[in-house]
C-alpha cells in the first residue's frame, strides 16, 4: 500500500504547468497548491478579523467613547462578522485541509475537477475584493451586522448591496468546492477503499460538501431578493412595502444554520483523525461517527428557526424548532462519547496536536451546553441578543472550529511543509490560548446573563470590570495567535526536516513523503486495512 520515501521531488518543485515562480502557483491545478493558496488567503483575512476584534475590545475597555464613533463601531462588528464567517471559518477547514488531504486520504492523484478547484479560489478572491471595495466607496462600510437583517438592510444608506453581493459571489466558491468533494469521494477512491474504509475526515468533509451544495443557493437567492428590494423598491421583506421581514430571517437561517455545520463538521473530522493517532488505538465506534456526520448534516437543516424565537414567529413553530434543536445534540454527543472512549486505555502521547484537541473538547463542550440554554424557549427569551449569545457563538465557532484549525495546522504541518516546528513553543501556545480564550469570552456569559446587549457601543458602569477582563483576554489570545504564526513561519525556514510519518499515523497521507510529490502516489495504492488499524505501523516501518 505504501509508497517509499524515494521521491526526492515534491510538489513545491514540480509544477502542473510550464510556468515558474508565482505564475506556476496562480495557474496551478494541483489540489495541494490550491489548498496552500487558500491557507494564505484565509490566514490573511483571519489576521484582519483579529485586528478589527482587538479594536472593538479596546473601544469597550471603559464606558463611553474611547477610540471611535458609534457608527464606526457598527461597521467594525459587521466587518468582523463578515470576514470571520465568510472569509475565514467557512472556507478554513474544507478549502484548506480538505483540498490538501481529501484526495490523498482516499488514494487519489487530485480532485475530480482540478480546474474547477482553481476557479473556486479565484471566485473566493473576487468575492473578498468586492467586500473590501465596498468599504471605500461612497456610502461607507456596511453597518447591518453579518446577518443583514431586513428591514434595516433595505433602508441603510451604507454599501449594503455591494457587500452582500460579495457574500453571494463567495457562495459560489463554496458550492464549487462542495461539488468537487462529493464527486471526488464518489469517483476517485483507491481500489479497496469502500465507503466504510474512508478516514473520518473524508466522511466529515463529504457530509459538509453536501451542505455546501444544497444550502448555499438559498442564501444566494435571499441576497438577490434584498438587492432587488433595495434597487427597485419591490416589497418582499420590508413591511412598509407589504413584505414580510420574518421571511427574510427564515431564508437567511435556512442557509446560515446549516452553514454552522459547514464550519464545525470538518473540524469534528480532524478530531477523529488526531485522537486515534495520539492514542495509538483504533477509533471507537467508526460507523457511529461516520453516520453521525451525515445525521448532523441532515438534522442541521431542520433547526434554523431557533435563531428566531423572539422574532414574532408563531408559537407552534417555536416549540417544534426548540424540540428539533435538542435532537441535533444527539449526533454531536455520539461523536464526543466515541472520542473519549477511543482514548480509554489508549497509549496517549500528548503531542501539541493532541493538546489542541483537548482544548477543543473543553471549549466546544461549554459552547454546546450553553447552546441548550439558547435552544430552550423560556431561557432564550431572557438571554437573546445579549453577550450570552456572543459568548456561546465564539465558544462553538472559535473554540470549536478555530481551535481545530490550529490543531489541523499543527497535525499536518510536517506533511504539508516537510518541516517540524518548536514543540516547546507549541505547548506554551496551547496553554496561553486556553487562558486568553476563556478570559476573553467567559465574562461575556456573565455579562449577557446580567443583561448586556450585543452590538452595543456603550454600556452601564457596573459592566466595566468584566468588560475590562475580556479586553485583557483579547490581548493574550491575539498575542498567542501571532506567536503561533511566528513560530510556524520560523519552522518553514529553519525547522528540522520532518520524516514522512512523524506522529505514527496510519491513514494514507502518512504513507507518502513529506511534503508529498506531485500527484501524491507513484502508484495508486490498494487499500487492505481499516483506516485506523495501527498494526500497519510495523509494516510501514519496514517499508
Amino acid at each position: 500500500m505504501a509508497n517509499g520515501n524515494t521521491v526526492a521531488e515534491n510538489f513545491y518543485h514540480q509544477s502542473t504547468n510550464k510556468h515558474k515562480g508565482i505564475l506556476s502557483w496562480l495557474l496551478t491545478v494541483d489540489h495541494k497548491r490550491i489548498g496552500l493558496m487558500y491557507l494564505i488567503s484565509v490566514l490573511t483575512f483571519f489576521v484582519v478579523g483579529i485586528i478589527i476584534g482587538l479594536l472593538m475590545r479596546l473601544e469597550l475597555i471603559a464606558p463611553g467613547k474611547q477610540l471611535m464613533e458609534a457608527q464606526t463601531y457598527n461597521s467594525l462588528f459587521t466587518l468582523h462578522g463578515v470576514i470571520m464567517i465568510f472569509l475565514f471559518i467557512i472556507p478554513g477547514l474544507p478549502a484548506v485541509f480538505g483540498n490538501f488531504f481529501l484526495p490523498i486520504q482516499i488514494g487519489a492523484r487530485d480532485v475530480a475537477f482540478p480546474r474547477l478547484n482553481l476557479l473556486s479560489w479565484y471566485v473566493y478572491v473576487v468575492g473578498a475584493i468586492l467586500a473590501l471595495v465596498s468599504l471605500f466607496l461612497p456610502g461607507g462600510p456596511i453597518d447591518t451586522g453579518w446577518t443583514f437583517y431586513v428591514p434595516y438592510s433595505v433602508r441603510s444608506t451604507t454599501n449594503v448591496s455591494l457587500a452582500i453581493f460579495a457574500a453571494f459571489i463567495l457562495g459560489f466558491s463554496s458550492i464549487l468546492t462542495g461539488i468537487n468533494f462529493v464527486t471526488t469521494t464518489h469517483r476517485l477512491r483507491a481500489p479497496g477503499m469502500s465507503f466504510f474504509k474512508m478516514p473520518l475526515f473524508v466522511w466529515a468533509t463529504y457530509a459538509t460538501a453536501w451542505i455546501q451544495i444544497i444550502a448555499t443557493p438559498v442564501v444566494g437567492i435571499t441576497i438577490l431578493l434584498v438587492m432587488i428590494e433595495r434597487a427597485f423598491g419591490v416589497g418582499i421583506f420590508d413591511p412598509a412595502l407589504g413584505g414580510d421581514p420574518i421571511l427574510f430571517q427564515h431564508l437567511f437561517w435556512i442557509y446560515s444554520h446549516p452553514a454552522v455545520y459547514i464550519m464545525i463538521l470538518p473540524a469534528m473530522g480532524v478530531v477523529s483523525e488526531i485522537i486515534p493517532t495520539f492514542s495509538r488505538r483504533t477509533i471507537f465506534g467508526y460507523r457511529a461517527i461516520a453516520m453521525s456526520s451525515l445525521a448532523i448534516a441532515f438534522v442541521g437543516y431542520l433547526v434554523w428557526a431557533h435563531h428566531m424565537f423572539t422574532s414574532g414567529m408563531s408559537d407552534t413553530a417555536r416549540w417544534i424548532f426548540s424540540l428539533l434543536t435538542f435532537i441535533v445534540a444527539l449526533p454531536s454527543g455520539v461523536k464526543v462519547f466515541n472520542w473519549v472512549a477511543t482514548m480509554y486505555k489508549g497509549s496517549i502521547d500528548p503531542k501539541p496536536p493532541f493538546l489542541w484537541v483537548m482544548n477543543f473538547i473543553f471549549l466546544f463542550s461549554i459552547g454546546g451546553l450553553t447552546g441548550l440554554v439558547l435552544g430552550s424557549l423560556a431561557t432564550d427569551i431572557h438571554v437573546h441578543d445579549t453577550y450570552f449569545v456572543v459568548a456561546h457563538f465564539h465558544y462553538v465557532m472559535f473554540g470549536g472550529t478555530g481551535t481545530i484549525f490550529f490543531a489541523a495546522l499543527h497535525y499536518w504541518f510536517p506533511k504539508m511543509f516537510g518541516r517540524m516546528y518548536n514543540d516547546k513553543l507549541a505547548r506554551i501556545a496551547v496553554a496561553l490560548y486556553f487562558i486568553g480564550f476563556n478570559m476573553l469570552y467567559f465574562p461575556k456569559f456573565i455579562l449577557g446573563y446580567m443583561g448586556m446587549p450585543r452590538r452595543y457601543y456603550d454600556y452601564l458602569p457596573q459592566f466595566e470590570p468584566l468588560q475590562r477582563i475580556s479586553t485583557v483576554g483579547s490581548w493574550i489570545l491575539a498575542g498567542t495567535i501571532f506567536l503561533i504564526i511566528g513560530y510556524l513561519f520560523h519552522a518553514l525556514v529553519k525547522g528540522k526536516k520532518a520524516t514522512s510519518n512523524p506522529w505514527g499515523g496510519v491513514t494514507l497521507e502518512w504513507h507518502i513523503p513529506s511534503p508529498p510529490p506531485l500527484e501524491n502516489f507513484k502508484e495508486i495504492p490498494t487499500v487492505t486495512h481499516e483506516p485506523y488499524d495501527f498494526s500497519q505501523l510495523k509494516e510501514m516501518k519496514n517499508e
Binding site: F298, M313, T316, A317, I320, F321
Partner: protein
C-alpha cells in the same frame, strides 16, 4: 464515466416539443395570474412551476436517462426542500 456512453439522448424533436410545452405553461402562468382564484392562486402557480421544472430536469438535464444514484440524490434534495417548506409553514399558517 461509463454511464455517459450508455445514456440515451432524445432527438431534437423532443427538445423542440418540450420547449413548446414550456412556453405554453409560461403563458398559462401569466394568464392565470390575471384571474382571481383566491386561495388556489399559489397552488396553481406552484403546480405549473413544478411541471415545468420536471420537464427541464428530466429532459434537458437528462436525469430521466441517468443512473439510479443521480435520481436518489435528486430525490434527497427535493425531500430536504419539502421539509423546509413544511417547517416554514408551521410559522406561516399558525402565526
Amino acid at each position: 464515466m461509463e454511464n455517459h456512453t450508455k445514456s440515451h439522448h432524445p432527438g431534437y424533436s423532443t427538445y423542440f416539443f418540450v420547449w413548446l410545452a414550456l412556453l405554453a405553461f409560461t403563458s398559462i402562468t401569466v394568464t392565470v395570474a390575471g384571474i382571481s382564484l383566491g386561495k388556489y392562486t399559489m397552488l396553481v402557480a406552484l403546480g405549473i412551476a413544478a411541471i415545468k421544472s420536471a420537464l427541464v430536469i428530466n429532459i434537458f438535464m437528462h436525469i430521466k436517462f441517468e443512473e439510479k444514484i443521480f435520481k436518489v440524490f435528486l430525490a434527497l434534495s427535493f425531500f430536504t426542500l419539502l421539509i423546509i417548506f413544511i417547517l416554514t409553514s408551521f410559522d406561516i399558517i399558525y402565526r
